[in-house]
């Protein structure tokens, strides 16, 4: 056969191998991600109790049930408040720690590993530990406060404080992950820029705002997108610390989805709720990319 035909055959054979190798992954993706997403979209237009056949109800889950569902609005509000508490503080704390650990002091790797450790611990273990630390009368936190004559509060048992406490635990768990990303970003800032700035008389604050922050925007961007998605999707933390309580104060939207789906067996409505959250999250992420995206500097020089 001619040379070009032979080449074409060869490249076709090569791509065939490629597809073959990613076939298992594609299959898994199809079966466990794409099909369920599509199914849940269909489910959100039905009333389904898991056993009997789903009953088509069109948009009523969205327009009728959800709009009048007081718990939905409460959960949404709680999720927003949780996100507003967790995201800026979480990123700021991670950034400060990354700055501090960007130096070559002795044992810096130990500190980095220690800060990263909570990321690798299961959420259930973390919840159990923190429930004890924050216990009103037996917890270490209130004990320490009492040593300096301060009245400890019901961190997880008082409606006023529960959401703050849960947010603090979430920040504690994720700060390691964000720190590692930001640290990698910091390492990528060429040191000659700092030297030049110092020679020109720039103080530490100016160096940070004019050099560091602009040049780590890719990492900041990544961290902020992940934080937004993570805080909207918080569930296991709530499930294992407060179960939505006390009262309604920590009931976040995904906890409400879980209750509707697996406690009341209203799978259709639960799917509808989940899709509303997805659309919201998608919109927020798009806004983030639009607003923040064009400020990200991917070039180093």
């Amino acid at each position: 056969m001619s040379k070009s035909k032979a080449n074409k055959k060869k490249s076709m054979a090569e791509s065939a191998y490629g597809y073959l190798f990613i076939a298992p992954n594609l299959l898994g993706m199809l079966v466990f991600v794409i099909v369920p997403i599509f199914t849940s979209l269909l489910m959100s237009f039905t009333d389904w109790d898991l056993i009997n056949a789903p009953r088509w109800v069109g948009l009523s889950n969205f327009t009728d049930k959800m709009v009048h569902d007081q718990q939905f609005w409460v959960s949404l509000k709680n999720t927003f408040v949780f996100s507003l508490l967790t995201i800026p503080l979480g990123i700021a704390v991670a950034f400060v720690i990354a700055l501090l650990l960007n130096q070559s002091i002795r044992g810096v790797n130990l500190y980095r590993a220690a800060i990263f450790l909570p990321v690798g611990i299961s959420m259930i273990s973390i919840s159990v530990i923190w429930r004890w630390i924050l216990n009103t009368d037996l917890g270490i936190l209130n004990y320490v406060l009492s040593l300096v004559n301060l009245q400890g509060a019901g961190w997880l048992s008082d409606e006023k404080y529960a959401l703050f406490s849960v947010s603090a635990i979430s920040i504690w768990k994720s700060v390691g992950f964000n720190m590692v990303i930001l640290l990698a970003g910091l390492k990528g800032v060429p040191s000659h820029l700092y030297e030049a700035a110092t020679i020109d008389g720039a103080g530490a604050w100016r160096r940070m705002t004019r050099i560091t922050l602009p040049l780590i925007t890719p990492s900041l961007f990544f961290v902020s997108i992940m934080s937004v998605i993570g805080s909207f999707q918080v569930f296991d933390l709530i499930y294992s610390t407060t179960s939505g309580g006390p009262g309604d104060s920590t009931r976040v939207i995904y906890y409400w989805v879980y209750q509707n789906g697996f406690k009341f067996f209203e799978m259709g409505y639960a799917s509808a709720l989940a899709w509303v959250v997805f659309i919201m999250l998608f919109a927020v992420t798009l806004l983030q990319m639009k607003f923040f995206g064009n400020k990200v500097n991917y070039e180093m020089d």
């Binding site: 191998y17 073959l20 190798f21 076939a23 298992p24 109790d49 898991l50 056993i51 009997n52 007081q70 216990n135 009103t136 009368d137 037996l138 019901g154 048992s157 008082d158 309580g245 006390p246 009262g247 309604d248 209750q259 697996f262 406690k263 009341f264 067996f265």
Partner: protein, 439 residues
């Protein structure tokens, strides 16, 4: 060509191993052979029994399984144990929906009607009649929720308990308070609890009573005051019934009136103990609970007594119970029923109640007193028997999870924390619940 075969066989073997790993989604390893593949070759049939419980409860099931298999050598029971009751209903329903249901499984009292409504249970009445089950030996209040009075038997109760008050004889003696009686009223209870409550802060003082705050004691209080939960047409919850708010006000006052005779929710959380722990530690002279409390009372052997939950106008109260049910599409209805029938017969009922975790569901076994724990006085037989025999059933509506478990408990919580009045809480709960019931 060699490269192709090697990579192809690699991919194939990977696919095969993942496929085999995922096909067995049930918790017990023998389950994949449980659905009747053995039936044709030997006479041996394998049934799967799914239940929840502590490791001790699992031991009880193993004893019952052994006794059953001895009597029925051709039926093998695979035990499918889950440690938490909370997610059990969801997992059973998922298995039923997936066509891989256990042949026998637990259903808690509050959920029987919702399972019935979903039309997934096998009506066991024909099988029961064929096997000459003696329905007269069951406590009547346990049969009604099973649909017996409507000509069905959707599930069989396997153990039951009324809500009782356990008291510490030593603490009563020390405070010179006469022991509670089977007929004592809320006033008697208040007086005794007050005399048994010491001064001091919540961490160090002794309480007259340690109360728990889920719907069990709340509903018991309501019924002991003659309150009724569901309207006759089943369309609304009568949460505006003054008897209901009166009962809950009384139960709440135990925590707050005159300094309280029972720890508040915050106070209880602060001690880090459960109500039973407080009772065992001598920090509370009385504790409420079902029969299951006696399971933990070994350290206080011989020093505790039990009486019915105090009454206002009614001495009868609801029962809490767990049932055994079969899915409609079970492959071995006859054998599964043999197991259930065995479970509600004398041998198994004696084994099941021997730990003190629950009472037998049969009058004969209850009267025999074989379930009494070591050192437990004989008069407890009459105490429990009367409560079981004269009990009223709670209207476990199919939407119990959403209405009582979720809405009612959520709305009453701030009232129990003394943040709003019981009436306001009940009003809010009623509006929401009626909306759900009328959907």
């Amino acid at each position: 060509m060699r490269k192709t075969t090697v990579s192809l066989s690699l991919i194939l073997s990977l696919l095969l191993t993942t496929a085999c790993g995922n096909s067995n989604d049930s918790k017990s390893p023998a389950a994949s052979s449980a659905t009747g593949s053995n039936a044709s070759e030997t006479k041996e049939v394998n049934i799967r029994f799914a239940f929840w419980g502590t490791p001790d409860e699992k031991l009880v099931q193993e004893k019952i399984k052994a006794a059953f298999e001895q009597e029925h050598p051709n039926i093998k029971v695979t035990l499918d144990h889950v440690s938490s009751a909370n997610d059990f209903p969801a997992s059973v329903l998922t298995q039923i929906a997936g066509g891989n249901a256990p042949d026998v499984f637990y259903i808690g009292e509050a959920l029987v009607s919702s399972f019935v409504k979903k039309n997934v249970l096998l009506d066991m009445l024909p099988l029961a009649k064929e096997n000459n089950v003696d329905f007269d030996d069951f406590f009547p209040a346990l049969l009604d929720p099973m649909g017996y009075n409507d000509g069905h038997m959707w599930a069989f109760p396997k153990d039951a308990t009324p809500y009782m008050i356990y008291y510490n004889k030593e603490l009563f003696d020390k405070a010179n308070v006469p022991y509670p009686t089977n007929e004592w009223t809320w006033d008697d209870f208040d007086k005794a609890a007050k005399a048994l409550t010491s001064e001091g802060n919540s961490k160090s003082k002794q309480y007259g009573f340690a109360q728990d705050l889920w719907w069990g004691p709340l509903m018991t209080s309501i019924y002991k005051n003659g309150g009724k939960l569901l309207s006759d047409d089943g369309k609304s919850m009568r949460l505006d019934d003054p008897k209901i708010s009166e009962a809950l006000d009384w139960y709440k006052s135990l925590m707050y009136k005159d300094g309280g005779v029972s720890p508040t929710p915050d106070g209880l959380q602060g001690t880090g103990m459960s109500t039973v722990d407080m009772f065992l530690a001598g920090k509370a002279a009385m504790v409420s609970g079902g029969r299951w409390v006696s399971y933990s009372l070994e350290p206080l052997a011989g020093k505790w007594g039990v009486v019915p939950f105090p009454q206002k106008t009614e001495s009868s109260s609801p029962l809490l119970f767990v049932t055994l049910a079969m899915p409609k599409n079970t492959e071995h209805p006859k054998e599964a029923f043999e197991f259930i029938k065995f479970y509600v017969s004398q041998t198994a009922q004696e084994i099941n109640s021997s730990t003190g975790l629950g009472m037998p569901v049969l009058k004969s076994v209850t009267n025999s007193g074989k379930w009494l724990l070591e050192g437990e006085p004989q008069d407890h037989v009459q105490v429990f028997f009367d409560q079981l025999n004269n009990a009223k059933s709670l209207p476990f509506h199919p939407l119990w999870s959403k209405t009582i478990d979720e809405i009612f408990m959520r709305e009453i919580d701030p009232a129990l924390r003394n943040l709003i009045s019981v009436e306001d809480a009940l009003g809010k709960a009623k509006t929401e619940i009626d909306k759900v019931l009328n959907q």
